[in-house]
Amino acid sequence: MTDMLCGYANRDETVVAFLYDELEPGERREFNAHLLTCTVCRDEVAGLRAVRTHLARWEPPALTSLQSPVPETSRAAWWQAPPAWAQVAAALLFLGVSAGIANLDVRYDQNGLNITTGWNKPATPKLVTAQPSKGGTTLVTDQSTAGAPWRADLAALERQLRNDLRASQASAPAAQTVRAVSSSDAETLRRVRELLDESEKRQQRELALRIAEVVRDVDTQRKADLRNIDHTLGLVRNDLGVEVMKQRQSLNLLYRASQRQ
């Protein structure tokens, strides 16, 4: 290496621009002419060119693709992973649904569609029982209010009806009582039907949600299986590659040995 002893204007920048071919044509001609007469610059350009040749030999280690090896059709890209809160919410939903679905009981009998879930469901779903009263009026009998929320509503309605009945019996003639009770019966039936409809819709929605979750679980499992298959195939390919390399080494050795002989 030589120490710099050249006074060419903007020398360092010009040398670099010349090296990377980024000089204007005029500047390039001028510097080329200078190189013919300046040993210092000529040596430096040659030395830096040699450095560039060495730089070209520096290869980073191979990169295995950032993409998942799972086929395109079943792949969710890593950069599209849902945020942490969504994953937590999904996990909680999944746990809740799994717990419920384990005891899902769907029944269809003379009482209509009946869906019950949960680990501690009542032994017999005695939801509503109607008994005729002495006056020919249908009344809702005493029920447990545990379980579905509409039972509490029914119990409250029953209490109200009883109170109304007692009050009307005490203060009105018999004919008026019959009319009042008949009116109450119609109202009761309407309310009961509404409550049952609402309950049925709610349970249908719940069933649809659980079916969707099951489908999603199956899909997740399928993706995991595909990944496993791909991984196994990769291992097999690696083993084959190692065998090929060993063979190549052996051939190299044989070739060298035969050349020595």
Partner: protein, 193 residues
């Protein structure tokens, strides 16, 4: 049909996930190489590469095409490399040379290349890597962007945010240090004037 980066960006912004996948496939190796040559650690370079695309994906709706997509990616990656160097408070560490694994080397060799040539090539690569690790971050970045990514002086200046003349000076100083270091090394000194 081959889409340009800008077309793929536009499709990605409209929600086409495959287009962004295509951009990742197209640019992951250059970005990884940039990160590796800047910070010198394989695993960390991979992390930087992945984080670069993650940030790009999140910031994609705000990308207005004021710069080339590749320049935008380079800038994100360089910022991440800079953060890494500051966080680690050290210059890039060249991974210690391990025992040469002939099988691994053979896997990387051309069919016509002998094992001896391959080992020699790997040795030279390590010499260059060690010499590069001695450079200050600015000089190393300038050399990496120029030498391995073919950016013009002006593009480097825009990317790192410094005057054009500073880029040339950094390159000149960096190459001069490399020349001195390679001239000292027994494996390369015969080839450096």
């Amino acid at each position: 049909m081959t889409w340009t980066d800008e077309e793929l960006v536009a499709k990605s912004i409209r929600g086409d996930a495959d287009s962004f996948n295509e951009l990742v496939l197209r640019w992951e190796r250059p970005i990884y190489a940039l990160a590796y040559r800047t910070i010198g650690r394989e695993e960390d370079a991979r992390d930087v590469c992945q984080e670069t695309f993650l940030r790009a994906f999140r910031a994609l709706p705000g990308f207005r095409g004021q710069a080339k997509f590749s320049s935008w990616l380079y800038r994100i990656a360089l910022n991440l490399c800079r953060d890494w160097i500051r966080r680690e408070r050290r210059t890039p560490v060249v991974q210690p040379p391990e025992d040469v694994d002939l099988l691994e080397l053979a896997a990387a060799s051309e069919p016509s290349e002998s094992i001896e040539d391959l080992v020699a090539r790997q040795d030279l690569s390590r010499v260059v890597e060690r010499a590069m690790a001695l450079l200050p971050e600015e000089q190393r970045t300038a050399i990496v962007l120029k030498e391995y990514h073919g950016l013009t002086f002006q593009e480097i200046a825009d990317l790192v945010g410094c005057p054009l003349s500073t880029v040339k000076t950094r390159l000149y100083q960096g190459l001069t240090v490399l020349r001195r270091e390679l001239a000292k090394n027994p494996k390369t000194k015969g080839t450096i004037l």
